[in-house]
């Protein structure tokens, strides 16, 4: 839909401005709060100070939680990418029966209520003694992260010109080499975007972690949850600001990768005239 001859009515524009303000204001308000010199949350801050950031970076419980989340997220990213990329290839190319049902099953963690998955995994882990184990957290998060990889890789694959791969095969390349040297370079941005989303999904995940992290595998969201409930001080505002910047940067990376994959797709298509 393009700009029409009719202008947007003022009252409509005003309504939209209010809704957009409602969306962004709570995010923006966190930043000045995190820079406050007061000992409790007050607005406007009496004067500026970096004390809450210093507090975050000097307390081992916060830093340990942040490191654990980064490690778990990185391992989830690797596992989910290794599982999801081949699955996307098989699903996009395959014509086998039950393909749609399998696709729906693989994507279902995206929409299934998290609490259901969380208690299912908690009961399972409690029985086999895995509660509080960081690796167990990785295994649980990977299942929830796989759909992000499958969606992103599938999106790039729909535009992939199979003739490029067929050409490689007819010139004597093994299927593995055709994948590695022809297909992967073209779908790589999609794979990487999927990997970034997989990392974020684990890095941000609270509900499963709330049940299975015990007291020995406390992730950053879990630590924030405790802090919000029991010790409201502005450190949490500092952590939130850092998180907004960090995940924001990751999302921008993923978005740039997605655009790049679209561009590559069109140039790859142009290279082989139909």
């Amino acid at each position: 839909m393009r700009t029409g001859p009719r202008r947007i009515p003022v009252c409509l524009a005003a309504l939209v401005a209010v809704v957009l303000l409602y969306l962004i204001f709570p995010i923006l308000i966190i930043v000045p709060l995190s820079l406050s010199s007061a000992l409790y949350l007050s607005f406007p801050p009496p004067s500026l100070s970096l004390q809450w950031y210093r507090n975050f970076f000097s307390r081992s419980d916060w830093l340990d939680a942040a490191w654990l989340s980064i490690w778990v997220g990185a391992l989830v990213m690797v596992l989910a990418t290794l599982l999801g990329t081949p699955a996307a290839i098989g699903l996009v190319r395959g014509r086998f029966r039950g393909r749609k049902a399998i696709n729906a099953f693989i994507l279902s963690p995206l929409i299934a209520p998290a609490i259901i998955v969380a208690i299912g995994i908690y009961f399972f882990y409690a029985r086999i003694g895995l509660v509080g184990n960081p690796m167990a957290l990785v295994l649980a998060h990977t299942g929830l992260a796989v759909p992000f990889v499958v969606i992103n890789v599938s999106a790039t694959l729909y535009g992939f010109d199979r003739r490029l791969e067929q050409a490689a095969l007819s010139l004597g390349a093994t299927p593995w080499r055709a994948f590695w040297q022809v297909m992967l370079p073209i779908i790589r941005p999609g794979v990487m975007a999927g990997a970034v989303f997989a990392f974020i999904s684990s890095f941000d995940e609270l509900i499963v972690a709330l049940f299975i992290s015990g007291s020995t595998a406390v992730t950053l969201p879990r630590k924030m949850w405790q802090s919000i409930r029991f010790e409201i001080d502005p450190t949490i505002a500092a952590v939130s600001t850092l998180l907004i910047v960090f995940t924001g940067a990751l999302f921008v990376t993923a978005e740039l990768l997605r655009r790049r994959s679209q561009r590559l797709r069109t140039t790859a298509g142009a290279a082989v005239p139909a």
Binding site: M1, R2, T3, G4, R6, I8, L12, V16, V19, Y22, L23, I24, P26, I27, I29, I30, L33, F43, G84, P86, A87, I89, G90, R93, G94, R95, F96, I102, F105, I106, P109, I111, A112, I115, I116, V117, I119, G120, I121, F123, F124, T142, G143, L144, V146, V150, A155, L206, L210, F211, P221, M224, W225, I228, I232, A237, S240, I244, T247, G248
Partner: protein, 292 residues
């Protein structure tokens, strides 16, 4: 003739082989999700009828005690109100963004995407800060002289609505925007030139054409709202008990079979909503549109 048959047989064999290869690529993820996702959830659901012995008592308890019925009713009501509010607030935003030039709408879209990206925990915390007794909303109201003493805003149903709509609004705006962007503006102009007023253009042309986006957005928001945990747990009052929060409490009380029964009810409700949307509103078509 014989060679033609032979080659078609060979082609069929080749096809089967390549299909087997495709299936083999999908297999690892299926096994993985089977072990770490489907099996735990299935075992949990099984627990709801098999413990302490074969029984439907866990379900009977949900529907027999007014406290639990109240939770089901409240969860449904909050999800419905949040969905309607998100639709009413999200539709104008998606419409205006879709009518602007790409460069402008991309810029304004940042205001939708930044909250969408930030973690739910961070956004809920922001509302706790805004709505607290000494919070910014109360201070502004006091300063304006609209109230004499701070209002109790946090830990109320009102806070649950405000924060949940805030968290879920992007899930409404994004699919709506996708559909409205793809709409042919000439259809609206044609309706106008034939004498339709703004209301008629909206009701007769815009709304029916954007229905796939409306249903996709409503489905997403409603199903996510049904299972919401973080936001109602943090900003709701003791009486604003949604089903996910109740499930967590029951797990903490070690009432695992009863918690499982509640989870089965939640899952059944989510699936029912999904099926209804699929049948009546053709959500599959909507998701197809969102992708493009």
């Amino acid at each position: 003739m014989a060679s033609a048959l032979e080659s078609s047989a060979r082609a069929a064999a080749h096809l089967r082989r390549s299909e087997l290869r495709n299936l083999a690529l999908v297999l690892p993820v299926l096994v993985y999700l089977g072990v770490f996702y489907a099996y735990p959830v299935a075992a949990m659901m099984f627990r709801s009828v098999s413990e302490p012995h074969w029984t439907l008592d866990n379900f009977a308890q949900i529907f027999a005690e007014p406290v639990f019925l109240q939770v089901l009713w409240l969860t449904a009501r909050i999800s419905l109100v949040v969905t309607l509010a998100a639709l009413l607030l999200g539709y104008p935003v998606a419409y205006v963004l879709a009518r602007l030039e790409r460069s402008k709408s991309n810029l304004l879209m940042i205001l939708v995407l930044v909250p969408f990206w930030s973690s739910i925990l961070v956004r809920t915390y922001a509302w706790m800060v805004l709505l607290g007794r000494e919070g910014i909303v109360n201070q502004i109201l006091l300063w304006l002289g609209l109230i004499e003493s701070p209002l109790r805003l946090l830990n109320t149903t009102f806070a649950v609505y405000v924060a949940m709509v805030h968290v879920l609004l992007p899930f409404m705006i994004l699919p709506l925007y996708g559909v409205l962007r793809g709409l042919d503006e000439n259809l609206l102009r044609a309706a106008q030139s034939l004498g339709a007023g703004p209301t008629a253009v909206f009701r007769e042309v815009l709304l029916p054409l954007s229905l796939p986006g409306v249903s996709a957005g409503c489905l997403l928001v409603f199903i996510l709202a049904l299972g919401f945990f973080i936001t109602p747990a943090l900003v709701g009052g003791p009486r604003d008990l949604m089903i996910a929060v109740l499930i967590q409490q029951q797990v903490d009380l070690l009432n695992w079979p009863f918690a499982s029964a509640l989870a089965v009810v939640l899952l059944a409700a989510a699936l029912l909503v999904f099926a209804v949307f699929m049948r009546i509103l053709g959500v599959e078509r909507a998701f197809g549109q969102v992708r493009t």
